[in-house]
């Protein structure tokens, strides 16, 4: 049987790509029925119970049960806040972007349900700074919802007030980490907070705060409309429902595919049109850059199975790589990303990500040393579990799995004194993300990002 999608959150945007983001289209397809029903007929506790019973798990990466997260919020402390993590930045992930650009009303309806359940009268959407179109569409959708009385004072004729505040980030991956997101939203550097206290107890402005991912809340209206039993029939017992899989890399049809959790990776590859030119699969990133690599497509894509395989579902970003891929380059690109995005708060991550880039860079340039592979693993061990937040850990997992699975390829770079695949690295001048924070794109003398003038004096 050919692999098929099960479209829930992507149903409207696939069926009506020409106008799926408009209020008219949303209302025509039963939009805001779930939010109206919840706010006028269901108690907040029943709404939390609904989320709990559905078994819905966070779609942002951690897979934490949504209803359980909500139940941690103290009942008697006000104000409370709902914050939507729309700072999608995990390399390989592009699902939340599509949801906000193509179906912003679905997101707003989901936010309304989450806000009602937690009795939060202010909700924030932390929208990634680079998402210009998505922000425009959400901005318009929020304005429309206010006009219709779906937001504002006494929504749907009830006594419940809800404001949604659209907030733009300014370019920092770390702000996808929920406590760093809160700091950024408060106007600070986006650096993670020590936990406990958890955001559910003391979050935004020190008040109880629920932080949910865009895809997670977009699922809520469908659970309300169709019921818990319907939802639990999709997916696996421990991971019910569907997941948007962002498929990219060397496949014929890269795109988002919504499939039941537990769908095999092979089926997802089939959905994506198979590998380009029919080449063999060499490596797969199953859950964003943070997830350790797989080499086999014979695995069900759900939280448990991937954990058992030593990796993770993460945000559902799948990157397929064929046999033309240089894994040293893959490791370098990944390491550069984490080095650029490390916030600098803790030493293992700040220093570890930086050193890994230097070592991987000399490996790709054919100047690697025999001990470099062990040195990389040593640095990874020094970071994993010793970093302040998951960014440092993830950076260690990613590079470690590249070295462990493809060690002979790293060795080949050392032995040959060059990249055995091509000479792309020799053409590089400034093709590096370069320095962190302010300062890029200035006129005049600048450090040549990507070329380390003192490379010989390094490690």
């Amino acid at each position: 049987m050919a692999a098929t999608e099960t479209r829930i959150v992507t149903q409207r945007l696939r069926e009506f790509p020409q106008d799926s983001w408009t209020l008219k289209r949303y209302l025509d397809s039963d939009g805001y029925r779930a939010a109206r029903q919840v706010v006028t007929e269901v108690t907040p506790d029943e709404t939390i119970a609904l989320a709990k019973d559905s078994g819905l798990r966070g779609r942002g990466g951690a897979g934490f049960p949504t209803g359980l997260k909500w139940s941690f919020v103290p009942k008697d402390v006000f104000p409370k806040y709902v914050v939507i993590n729309h700072d999608e930045g995990e390399p390989g992930t592009f699902k939340d972007r599509e949801l906000a650009e193509m179906d912003p009303h679905q997101l707003i309806e989901g936010i309304t349900i989450a806000a009602w359940a937690n009795q939060a009268s202010k909700a924030f959407i932390y929208c990634r700074g680079e998402f210009a179109l998505g922000s425009r569409r959400m901005d318009a959708a929020i304005a429309e919802a206010y006009e219709r009385g779906f937001l504002g004072k006494g929504i749907f004729g009830s006594k419940f007030d809800l404001d949604i505040i659209l907030h733009r980030g300014a370019g920092a991956y770390i702000c996808g980490e929920e406590s760093a997101l809160l700091d950024s939203l408060e106007g600070y550097r986006g650096q993670p907070r020590l936990r406990p206290p958890f955001p559910a107890v003391k979050g935004l402005y020190g008040q109880p705060t629920v932080i949910n991912n865009t895809e997670t809340v977009s699922t809520l209206p469908h659970i309300v409309n169709n019921g818990v039993d319907w939802f639990k029939k999709i997916g696996t017992e421990k991971s019910p429902g569907t997941k948007m899989m962002s498929v990219s890399g060397h496949v014929n049809a890269p795109a988002n595919y919504e499939v039941p959790l537990g769908t095999s990776l092979a089926d997802i590859l089939e959905l994506a049109g198979g590998m380009r030119d029919g080449r063999p699969v060499k490596a797969i990133i199953p859950g964003g850059a943070s997830a350790p690599l797989l080499t086999d497509t014979n695995i069900p894509m759900d939280f448990e199975a991937l954990k058992e395989a030593g990796t993770m579902l993460g945000s559902g970003a799948i990157v397929f790589m064929d046999d033309t891929t240089c894994m040293v380059r893959n490791a370098l690109v990944t390491a550069e990303f984490f080095a650029h995005e490390s916030c600098g708060k803790c030493t293992p991550c700040r220093e570890g990500t930086w050193w890994k880039v230097r070592i991987l860079e000399r490996l790709e340039h054919g100047e690697g040393r025999q001990e470099d592979m062990d040195l990389l693993l040593d640095i990874c061990n020094g970071m994993d579990g010793r970093s302040f937040c998951p960014l440092g850990d993830a950076s260690a997992w990613a590079v470690r799995s590249n070295v462990k699975l493809f060690r002979e390829e790293f060795q080949a770079h050392v032995d040959a004194g060059r990249c055995p695949f091509d000479d792309e690295h020799e053409q590089l001048v400034g093709a590096r993300a370069g320095g962190v924070g302010l300062g890029e794109a200035g006129i005049g003398d600048q450090p040549a990002a990507g070329i380390w003038p003192d490379a010989d004096g390094g490690a």
């Binding site: 402390v77 006000f78 104000p79 999608e88 930045g89 390399p91 390989g92 992930t93 592009f94 939340d96 972007r97 009795q119 202010k122 700074g129 680079e130 210009a132 179109l133 901005d139 929020i142 304005a143 007030d161 659209l166 907030h167 733009r168 980030g169 300014a170 370019g171 991956y173 809160l182 950024s184 408060e186 106007g187 600070y188 550097r189 907070r193 206290p197 020190g206 990219s248 890399g249 060397h250 850059a289 990157v319 893959n330 550069e336 990303f337 590089l428 001048v429 400034g430 093709a431 590096r432 993300a433 924070g437 302010l438 890029e440 794109a441 006129i443 005049g444 600048q446 990002a449 990507g450």
Partner: protein, 235 residues
């Protein structure tokens, strides 16, 4: 208890990067949030929309609006890549250099643009028209290798296509993204970013009591930290 003095001498003119109109927008942005400090990033975008980058004067003015010290504004602002501390081009060309894009040929695109513009990635042309950067994941991996010009998307760009887009912009022509959105100038897009969420009337913004009828206690300050006293406040 001593009253903290502003470091700006009394006779120095107040910083005025923002026009009265923009100043009003700044107040409206600050009023969006239960705590005005949250407006720090949007206000820096507002400064960037005037000056083309975040100037020292601009940061001082933001500090004054939000009742913070300039150093606090610098501390937060310096963290974020979209806020530029040096003059940048009218068009910021960002080529994604992350995993999917690199494997699909992003390095060649960067190289072609470097050659065409005569600058390295991370720099700006001498005439101030173009900045080029090798950016981190732009969340358009299905369009790898992908590129943004002032945050409008271009998918599956070849080196030649990338150069053609830049040439078109250089000639002053209107360029549409893959999603049909016209590419704006960097000042225009900075203004749009600053004012996101201001579409509905400002009167609806600001304070609105919650179910419990309480707003955050003033003493709580943002997050878990005590508030750092700003200008004119008792320390």
């Amino acid at each position: 208890m001593t009253v903290k003095q502003s470091r700006r001498p009394d006779d120095a003119p107040a910083p005025s990067v923002l026009t009265p109109e923009l100043r009003a927008q700044a107040e409206a942005i600050a009023a969006k949030y239960p705590n005005s400090r949250s407006a720090l990033l949007p206000l820096l975008f507002l400064v960037q929309s005037v000056e083309g980058y975040v100037t020292d004067e601009g940061m001082r003015e933001v500090a004054e609006i939000l009742d913070l010290e300039p150093a606090q504004v610098l501390s937060s602002g310096s963290f974020y890549t979209m806020l530029k501390k040096r003059p940048q081009g009218e068009y910021l060309v960002s080529v994604c250099r992350n995993i999917s894009c690199t494997h699909m040929g992003a390095r060649k695109v960067v190289r072609a643009l470097e050659e065409h513009l005569g600058i390295e990635a991370g720099a700006t042309t001498q005439d101030g028209r173009f900045s080029l950067e090798a950016a981190e994941c732009l969340a358009t991996c299905d369009g790898a290798p992908s590129m943004q010009v002032n945050y409008e998307d271009f998918y599956k760009v070849t080196p030649d296509e990338a150069v053609a887009i830049v040439e078109k912009l250089g000639r002053g022509e209107v360029v549409l993204s893959v999603r049909g959105e016209p590419v704006k100038t960097s000042k225009e897009i900075s203004h749009e970013t600053a004012t996101a969420g201001l579409r509905r009337p400002v009167t609806e913004m600001g304070y609105m009591p919650t179910m419990g009828g309480e707003t955050p206690k003033q003493g709580t300050g943002p997050g878990m930290r005590p508030k750092v006293p700003g200008k004119g406040q008792e320390s």
